[in-house]
Symmetry: C2
Subunit: 159 residues, 2 copies
DNA sequence: TACGAATGATAAGTATACTTGTCAATTATC
DNA sequence: GATAATTGACAAGTATACTTATCATTCGTA
């Protein structure tokens, strides 16, 4: 009989909660104010400046509506600029500000370092194996998510 | 250089999102209206009737305040009863109603079955290994979480 | 080029998941 | 037995993360 604490869904949720908590702690210690989603969005925008919100959502596998709120907060903090696209007046073109680039440069090494802390209970070989399995499972389950990862070129729509 | 899509934190979040989505889909197909948290709470209460909210939170590794809202909704749906404790008038004693027990009996096999769907991309050996690694990582990271799992007897406090 | 379909964004609503703060009740201590 | 510390619950606020619906704009097509 499978106990709740042996179910993949429950374990994934717990590890996610630990991950978010570790992220928040490391960021606070580093003196920055960025959530995991905000970091992911800023990081993706630095690599793909000028994309619109829907494309950004697809790049990091988030829901479009959620990204709207995330960008609101990044804009309020002066980390991201949002302009109406010249080509498509429905779209908001996004790019990091100077301050956004600067914060990202400082936060990036912190985020990389904290990844090991999330998996502090595993030895290096186990970490590698876990990441491999997570990638495989996430890739296979991508279509099952309400916010699938999307190739930069192709739009599939997730509403 | 570690890409965002290779970071454990990001992968865990994506798998969590897939997990929640699979859960919602399977529940909807089964004709039930239970979220993952609500199922976990109801399931824990069936095994531990009469506990208070803080103890319930510790049993399934959730934040106390979050559980308050979850129990609100379970109570509104008539699945859980909440009474003032005779021994400690600060505490609300929780137990599933008849309807709660009945719904749990129907939902339980659905939830067990959906666990494989979450990891549809992995073969059985990989699933076993992933669950082992998740358990190990979650156990080690428990103290790092804002809502640690707690033994039924001991209270450590998480505020 | 008119028109329906599709798309980008937002609005409103629900459900976690956390924060800090407050209050009441209980327990521990002197 | 008074007082301090703790505990259980709730309130208010923030941030995801989703739902459905609406609106404006654009695109595809006849």
């Amino acid at each position: 009989m499978l106990d709740l604490h042996e179910m993949p869904g429950h374990l994934i949720r717990r590890l996610h909660q630990i991950s978010v908590s570790v992220f928040a702690g490391a960021m606070r210690r580093a003196g920055h104010d960025l959530t995991p989603v905000q970091f992911a969005a800023l990081s993706a925008l630095a690599r793909n400046p000028g994309v619109d919100q829907a494309t950004l959502a697809g790049l990091i596998a988030y829901d479009r509506v959620t990204i709207g709120g995330v960008v609101d907060r990044l804009e309020a903090k002066g980390l991201v600029e949002r302009d109406v696209s010249a080509r498509d007046r429905r779209a908001r073109v996004l790019r990091p500000t100077r301050a956004g680039e600067a914060l990202l440069a400082e936060a990036d090494p912190v985020v990389r370092a904290l990844q090991d802390e999330i998996l502090s209970g595993l030895d290096p070989a186990e970490r590698t194996e876990l990441v491999r399995l997570l990638r495989k499972a996430a890739e296979a389950g991508n279509a099952r998510s309400r916010a699938p990862l999307q190739d930069a070129g192709r739009r599939v729509g997730n509403g």
